[in-house]
């Protein structure tokens, strides 16, 4: 009987995530507010229904009443988060908000299935992270001088990354994180990727001279090298890809893009020759069976999980995702695919893609170079991370050991993702402010002209003063003026 419930839940969740994904792309095509709001309503329905179905299956299987409370607390969290965000930021992107909640609810279901105790801990961290990151849009919106701190971002980033050698604990063969008061561990590379993007954007904001590009590249390369030395290959790759793309978008120079890609390829070959751990990753990717019980074990277990689940999945608790090493964080995609199905996993990937597309479009909308590059840089970081994570789990590319944003277990990952999404929301709101102001000004102008015409008709003397606009030294503003 339990199994029928689990299977029914599986199919219902499949339908819900497909509907959700469709409405996400429907939203991206929609032009009118009304159409978008309808799509968002649909998304919220699907998200809450999926969350409920998942937890019903969990409650049915475990028979624990504590799960009911855990579920209800999560519902309260989602409602509070959605409502508060919209109260503080009326103009926020609803699509990104909904996607955030959807990815989190999938994560909560899977992590609870894998073990309630750690899921509760992760939930608490998530809630705190959500609260902290709530200020990110405000900072972006109000502090228009963020572009001035280029070298400070670089200093913070490099010091934080270096600190790893001093205080770190070695995890899975890499220096990744250090403990803070024994309470939780912090993984600097998760946060430095944000200061990294800010650094690059600041540098390119004021100049794109060869000298500036050279200096920036050197500092960026220093970031990457520290990461490689600490064996955090996934992060190193993300920083590299993000930098290359930011450089290209800023300069529009194919010379830099191709030259950078070539340099990266040479570096990759060198790394393969020099570092044993790089070689192992590549060999495991080429043929995991060579060392099936050693280095190949993790990827094989992931492939077994995905293959056994097939397109429809086994249903919650019907697979063996716990056999996959690190299934909670880096390999959660395989666990989701096994029990919720390959179709579900593809839909999850498409939801991530819709976030990414939203990031990229915000980047093209932004006027000033600084904001444009920040949006684009964060998009590149996010896109590369999702690609490297999922590609690695399914053995499309060598596994690099990074998390899937919003879905994987891990405090640093969740907080930094919240901050990234918060910054993007800030930019989105900034743009909405701009649009509103322009509309407002146009309205005023029209009114003034109408008035003027009236006066003229009436033969009154004197010309209306068009009025000084307040000039604020914001890059967005200046670009806007220029483009006019």
């Amino acid at each position: 009987m339990t199994n029928i419930g689990i299977q029914a839940a599986k199919y219902i969740m499949l339908v819900l995530i497909l509907l959700y994904t469709l409405s996400t792309y429907h939203y991206l095509r929609m032009k009118t507010h009304k159409g978008r709001n309808q799509a968002c309503g649909m998304q919220l329905f699907c998200m809450f229904a999926l969350h409920l179905t998942g937890y019903l299956a969990i409650i049915l299987y475990t028979g624990e009443t504590a799960m009911v409370y855990f579920y209800l607390v999560q519902v309260v969290f989602f409602i509070l988060y959605l409502v508060l965000f919209r109260v503080f930021y009326k103009k926020a992107s609803r699509l990104l908000l909904n996607n955030t909640c959807m990815l989190l609810s999938i994560s909560f279901i899977m992590l609870t299935r894998l073990g309630a105790e750690r899921a509760v801990r992760h939930f608490i961290i998530t809630a705190v992270a959500a609260a902290i990151a709530m200020v990110a849009p405000l900072i972006v919106r109000r502090m228009r001088y963020l572009w001035r701190f280029g070298w400070i971002y670089a200093a913070i980033g490099i010091v934080a990354l270096m600190a790893i050698f001093a205080f770190s604990t070695v995890k899975h063969g890499a220096y990744l994180s250090f403990d803070i008061g024994g309470l939780f561990s912090l993984q600097p590379s998760e946060f430095v990727k944000i200061t990294f993007v800010f650094f690059v954007a600041s540098m390119f904001q004021t100049s794109l001279s060869f000298k500036r590009v050279f200096v920036t590249t050197a500092v960026a390369a220093l970031h990457v090298l520290i990461l490689v030395a600490s064996k955090d290959l996934g992060a190193a790759l993300i920083y590299f890809i993000a930098y290359l793309l930011m450089l290209f978008v800023a300069t529009r120079s194919y010379f830099y893009l191709i030259g950078g890609a070539a340099a990266g390829s040479i570096a990759a070959v060198l790394a393969y020759r020099v570092f044993g751990h790089v070689k192992v990753r590549v060999q495991v990717w080429q043929d995991p069976w060579l060392d099936a019980t050693g280095d190949g074990w993790q990827i094989l277990q992931a492939l077994f999980a995905i293959g056994s689940g097939g397109f429809l999945g086994t249903g919650l608790y019907q697979g063996m995702p716990e056999k996959i090493p690190v299934v909670r964080s880096d390999f959660i995609f395989a666990g989701i695919s096994e029990e919720m199905g390959g179709i579900f996993a593809i839909a999850l990937l498409l939801i991530c893609l819709s976030c990414l597309l939203q990031f990229l479009w915000i980047s093209t909308w932004m006027d000033g170079m600084f904001y444009k590059i920040i949006a684009f840089g964060l998009a590149a970081v996010y896109g590369a991370q999702v690609f490297l994570n999922i590609g690695g789990v399914i053995k499309f590319i060598p596994s690099t050991g990074i998390t899937l944003p919003f879905v994987s277990h891990g405090g640093s990952s969740i907080l930094s993702t919240f901050i990234m999404f918060g910054i993007i929301q800030g930019l989105y709101i900034l743009k909405q402010d701009e649009v509103d102001r322009i509309e407002q000004e146009e309205k005023l102008e029209r009114r003034r002209q109408a008035l003027h015409a009236k006066r003229y008709e009436a033969g009154a003397a004197g010309v209306g003063n068009p009025g000084e606009r307040t000039r604020r030294d914001s890059p967005g503003r200046r670009a806007y003026q220029k483009s006019k």
């Binding site: 009987m1 199994n3 029928i4 793309l245 978008v249 099936a292 019980t293 074990w297 094989l300 277990q301 492939l303 077994f304 999980a305 995905i306 293959g307 056994s308 097939g310 397109f311 697979g319 063996m320 056999k323 390959g342 996993a345 593809i346 990937l349 498409l350 991530c352 893609l353 990414l356 597309l357 990229l360 479009w361 980047s363 684009f376 998009a379 590149a380 896109g383 999702v386 690609f387 999922i390 590609g391 399914i394 053995k395 499309f396």
Partner: protein, 463 residues
């Protein structure tokens, strides 16, 4: 542009993911490192292995208390090919493991079973094996150790595969200690048909003949040799079977009479590197095109341009260091019988759900053309001569024509200690079955093997 770039990257991930799920995953997950496979049996009752007409070769029965036992109604008869699942898994039990433990019952019935809290029945695997022929082959081997393979040359279907000595799969777990103990020197668990390697003896003269034909495409018809019963080469003497003096022979009669001295002479003329590559094209030293899960040992052929005279002469008549499995010998003859094309052997015909729906159908597959149609025709003609004019007159029959070749494989210096081979097919025109049979210690001249083959052909054509 960046949107397009990232969208393409993500779509390529999705593409690979789907490719993995559709094409690759089935083979990947069927691994002993996959703990999931063990738990399937807690939810599914292992399906049946069936003969070609639905005969039950293996089934799982439950007593009233939910205890399951695997039963093999034919006991020892299918021991190696069907395998067992009580002490590890072997044979078809291993190869078809995943099918037997999956269920494709209609969703409604699955739900119904779920409600009644009974396990779903696994899928059944229908094989190409024919119990009638299996019994014929089994009886033909009699008390000898050895192996027999019967296959259909046009499709590659294996109709029978026997290896002796055998064991009873019903009690294999109980007999395990004895079967693997040192005092038991029989190696009952070994499937000699696929894993036993023997010198091919005179059956190998088929390939020596083919190589000679290829090296002398214009004038092999003019080949002539006068057999005096023995010949000297180096410091050794090569003699024909029981010192027979065959007189003047052409190539066809050389094979028909299995004349050692004639073939030793031919061996002396061959280009050994070419001979080596011919044998490799006939899958010596190569992986055989068998279903992935079938365990076998690779045949070997070591002669090449650097070999000495003695080895060259010995190899030409099928002695020397050449080794072959009975299944591989069947495959070579099968290619001759099928106009030159080798069909990959297979045992699994289809997978059916418990309510009879076909879940998966296995189709015959060509493994390539090993020899031309005219070469196949010539060799068939020679093999007919073996029966009608040569060493195996006892295989003559009014109702069918056999084409074949006998062999005795010496496995030590004592000539009396040899294995008896027969490989062949019938009818010579439009062949229906290929038989490859070997009797360990069957004695010289292959007469034991000919008698066994006779029983199989008689049985097959009188059905």
């Amino acid at each position: 542009m960046a949107s397009v770039f990232f969208t393409l990257m993500f779509l390529s991930v999705i593409g690979y993911f789907c490719w993995y799920l559709v094409v690759k995953s089935e083979d990947t997950i069927d691994s002993s490192y996959n703990a999931r496979l063990d738990t399937f049996s807690t939810r599914v009752v292992r399906g049946e292995i069936r003969g070609k007409n639905g005969e039950v070769l293996a089934r799982t029965v439950e007593d009233g208390e939910g205890n399951e036992t695997r039963e093999y109604p034919y006991s020892n008869l299918f021991a190696h090919v069907a395998g067992y699942s009580d002490a590890g898994t072997t044979g078809l039990e291993a190869a078809a493991n995943q099918y037997l433990l999956s269920t494709h019952l209609s969703l409604l019935e699955q739900v119904d079973n779920e409600m009644k809290e009974v396990k779903n029945p696994g899928d059944n695997v229908v094989t190409t094996l024919d119990p009638y022929l299996q019994q014929l082959a089994y009886d033909a081997l009699g008390d000898y150790n050895g192996a027999c393979v019967i296959m259909e040359p046009g499709t590659g279907k294996i109709l029978a595969m026997v290896s002796r000595p055998d064991f009873d799969p019903n009690t294999v777990a109980a007999d395990w200690e004895y079967l693997i103990s040192e005092e038991n020197e029989e190696a009952n668990l070994l499937n000699r048909a696929t894993q036993g390697l023997y010198p091919p003896g005179s059956t190998f003269k088929l390939l020596t003949t083919l190589e000679y034909i290829r090296e002398n495409p214009e004038n092999w018809g003019n080949y002539q040799y006068e057999c005096e019963g023995s010949m000297k080469y180096g410091d050794s003497v090569m003699s024909c079977y029981e010192g027979h003096v065959h007189g003047v022979l052409d190539l066809r009669l050389s094979l028909a009479n299995s004349c050692n001295t004639s073939f030793a002479t031919i061996g002396g003329t061959l280009d050994l590197d070419k001979f080596h590559s011919l044998c490799e094209s006939f899958l010596f030293n190569q992986a055989l095109p068998l279903p992935e899960a079938m365990e076998y040992r690779q045949s070997s052929f070591v002669l090449d341009g650097n070999s000495g005279l003695s080895e060259r002469v010995q190899t030409a008549i099928g002695q020397g260091r050449t080794m072959i499995s009975p299944l591989h010998n069947a495959m070579i003859v099968s290619a001759i019988a099928n106009g030159g094309t080798l069909m990959s052997p297979y045992v699994m015909e289809r997978v059916e759900s418990a309510d009879g729906k076909v879940v998966k159908q296995f189709m015959p597959e060509s493994a390539g053309k090993l020899l031309s149609a005219s070469e196949a025709e010539t060799l068939t003609d020679f093999m007919v001569a073996v029966v009608n004019e040569g060493t195996s007159p006892s295989l003559q029959s009014d109702s069918y024509q056999v084409a074949g070749k006998t062999g005795s494989a010496e496995f030590n210096s004592n000539k009396e200690d040899s294995h008896a081979w027969f490989v062949g097919f019938a009818p010579a025109k439009n062949p229906e079955i290929v038989v490859s049979i070997i009797y360990e210690n069957g004695g010289t001249g292959g007469s034991v093997a000919t008698k066994g083959a006779k029983k199989i052909f008689e049985g097959y054509f009188s059905r």
